[in-house]
């Protein structure tokens, strides 16, 4: 595990100089947490950028009039934005080339201003296939879970 204080100033500075090394399969232990990733509060700008970049142009995330007509108080985040953040926490930890699957259930809406923290822990090790399974979740500052799921890595 190369980074333990993700989101701190120190890791921001050192990021550019860090060469990611793949931990050995043996060093990964069931029950161990993966490094947490803290995300800045969700803003309208974030949602506008993500709509364009992701290809999800559903107006309920970017147009307050549409959101209000649908019975919402305001626009809210794309579930896939939060899934992308949680994906970042995975690839910050282990290289994407070792990722075999990643899935989540969306459990509650992420609102403007919510500060998301991504976390997870190793729950299974398959010694034969050299695979680990991690359970992951993204929650706001009140602990309200926005999405939860798992990911499988294969490490040779």
């Amino acid at each position: 595990m190369s980074r333990t204080c993700t989101g701190s100033l120190l890791s921001e500075i050192s990021w550019g100089f860090q060469i990611m090394s793949l931990p050995s399969f043996e060093s990964l232990i069931v029950g161990d947490p993966i490094p947490e990733l803290e995300i800045a509060p969700i803003s309208r700008t974030t949602l506008a950028l993500f709509a364009g970049a992701s290809g999800d142009h559903n107006p309920i995330h970017i147009d307050i009039d549409v959101a209000k007509n649908a019975g919402m108080d305001d626009v809210f985040a794309h579930g896939m934005l939060v899934m992308a953040y949680l994906g970042r926490s995975l690839t910050d930890w282990l290289p994407q080339s070792s990722l075999r699957s990643y899935g989540v259930r969306f459990t509650s809406i992420t609102k403007l201003g919510d500060a998301i923290t991504c976390s997870g822990k190793i729950v299974e090790k398959d010694e034969t296939r050299k695979r680990i399974r991690v359970e992951v979740q993204a929650a706001d500052e009140d602990g309200d879970v926005k999405l939860a799921g798992d990911a499988v890595f294969e490490i040779h």
């Binding site: 970049a53 007509n69 649908a70 992308a84 910050d92 994407q96 990722l99 075999r100 990643y102 899935g103």
Partner: protein, 146 residues
């Protein structure tokens, strides 16, 4: 209620090329700091052919194709009632900027809960690349609040 006849329905396959600029935009929009997701040299230094497609990027390429909405329209589903229930990706081979991908979406299940108050559509899409190599599968559950 959505007709169960849509179970097994296959939308027309569609193809799209992964654009490096689009990946850079996605990296910016998701606050990505790892340079392999925006800089080709950094990606190559990390062992990738080019900038890799991040874990959730394929979802956008699938839903921005008009066929995704055409299907819901055909099912007479009101878009305002649609929620994203689940999303899963299976990765078989790497996908990088410049790859041309073929998406083959199909509906694998439709079911309801709470006496039809909630309906679920399970979508499964296989993705192959320019070498006809299977690169990924997408699994999506759409929820309709009636």
């Amino acid at each position: 209620m959505i007709s169960k006849e849509f179970i097994g329905h296959e939308s027309a396959p569609f193809s799209t090329t992964v654009d490096a600029g689009r990946l850079q935009f996605f990296a910016k929009a998701t606050g990505q700091r790892d340079p392999i997701y925006s800089d080709e040299d950094a990606a190559k230094a990390a062992g990738y052919r080019s900038i890799p497609v991040p874990p959730t990027f394929l979802f956008g390429l699938e839903v921005e194709n008009p066929s995704a909405f055409a299907l819901l329209h055909e099912m007479e589903v009101d878009l305002v009632k649609v929620l994203h229930g689940e999303q899963r990706f299976e990765y078989h081979n790497d996908i990088c900027a410049g790859d041309t991908l073929m998406f083959r979406p199909r509906v694998v299940d439709i079911y309801e809960k709470k006496g039809g108050a909630l309906e679920f559509i399970v979508h499964q899409t296989s993705v192959t690349n320019q070498d006809n190599l299977r690169v990924a599968d997408l699994h999506r559950v759409t929820v309709i609040r009636n």
